[in-house]
């Protein structure tokens, strides 16, 4: 039984860690290129939080057999082994798309971490405790910007609606449970995604309506949790893992 639990916790840690890693990787690329200096600094803080969380989650996954250490888990797996949602691997696009992707993620991430604070696994609860504070701030920030830019100028509204249209189909994966999610919830290791999904939808409704934006209809695009990614993933890894791959076994 302990073996089963460890495997579940490892899967959970990979999902949480890979989401944080890939989104952190994406967001960090803005550093030096944001529309105003204050945003450059603020967004870098978000990326720093996510990379910090990555170290904790992938460190836990490594302890449970996913690799020698967090770095090996991050830098030596191929795309099929990554467990992040498709949403976070989507390209940065314009600054509006980056903020919309962040918002759709944060609105799930914060309640998810909040739920994980009560995980039956103490290691998970501890990481969630620290990360939830950071995620609460991310969500406040990204919600603020979605509202302001949605209900801003004609151009900013159009751009935010475009971003929502492009990214919303990927949001559903976060709150759609698969077998692993069900087993995690049943074991008291993670919150029930169905309940979390209701909360998520309600929150999105509230913020998007204040932002005068409309979520599109259409099918949910998913697969990342099972390692079936978009083509973006290989390019992200080619960039991120290049140095580790080019000089195998070197320490940095």
């Amino acid at each position: 039984m302990a073996g089963d639990t460890d495997k579940l916790v490892r899967d959970l840690a990979l999902r949480m860690g890979d989401n944080a890693l890939i989104l952190g990787q994406r967001v960090s690329a803005w550093c030096g290129h944001a529309p105003v200096l204050e945003e450059d600094i603020a967004l870098a803080n978000v990326a720093l939080d996510l990379i910090g969380q990555t170290k904790l989650w992938l460190g836990l996954a490594a302890d449970l057999g996913a690799g020698a250490n967090a770095d090996d888990v991050a830098f030596l797996r191929d795309a099929r082994a990554f467990r992040n949602s498709l949403l976070v691997e989507q390209p940065n696009g314009d600054y509006g798309a980056t903020l919309m992707r962040q918002f759709l993620f944060d609105a799930w991430h914060y309640p998810m971490l909040n739920g994980l604070k009560d995980s039956a696994d103490a290691r998970v609860a501890e990481i969630a405790e620290k990360s939830a504070k950071e995620a609460a701030y991310h969500l406040e920030r990204s919600s603020d910007f979605v509202v302001r830019l949605g209900d801003g100028s004609d151009e900013s509204r159009a751009r935010m609606q475009d971003a929502l249209d492009a990214l919303y189909p990927f949001a559903g994966e976060l709150t759609t449970p698969d077998e692993t999610d069900d087993a995690l919830a049943a074991a008291g290791l993670a919150p029930d995604l169905n309940a979390l999904g209701e909360h998520y939808d309600a929150y999105l409704d509230r913020v998007l309506s204040e932002a005068t934006l409309t979520a599109p209809e259409g099918a949910v695009r998913k697969g990342g949790k099972a390692g079936l990614h978009t083509e973006e993933m290989g390019h992200i890894l080619a960039d991120m893992q290049w140095l580790q791959r080019a000089y195998p076994g070197a320490t940095w």
């Binding site: 105003v36 200096l37 204050e38 600094i41 603020a42 701030y137 406040e140 920030r141 603020d144």
Partner: protein
């Protein structure tokens, strides 16, 4: 380049029992974003600190003690930009 965010002065209470101190300035479109930016820029988001922001143009400043200012444009501008009043030593404790 006409639509510049207004300039805000940032005051932070680093520890309980101390008064707010001027720590610097920043640009932001409105007060809420100014407070968030202040957390990101000037506190690197320490928990539990109290932040005040005020638009620089709303600060009234005393005239300098000595001579009549000869450089008029600069004078009128600095009423609006009384930046970086008084920080040095305590800053590290924030």
């Amino acid at each position: 380049m006409s639509n510049e965010f207004p300039l805000w002065e940032v005051f932070i209470r680093g520890q309980h029992g101390l008064s707010h101190r001027h720590v610097g300035s920043l640009h932001a479109p409105d007060a809420e974003i100014a407070i968030k930016n202040a957390r990101d820029v000037y506190t690197r988001r320490n928990e539990g600190v109290s932040i005040w922001v005020v638009q620089s143009k709303d600060i009234a400043a005393s005239a300098p003690g000595d001579k009549e200012p000869l450089y008029e444009p600069s004078n009128s501008k600095v009423y609006r930009h009384p930046t970086f009043f008084d920080i040095p030593d305590e800053v590290g404790k924030m």
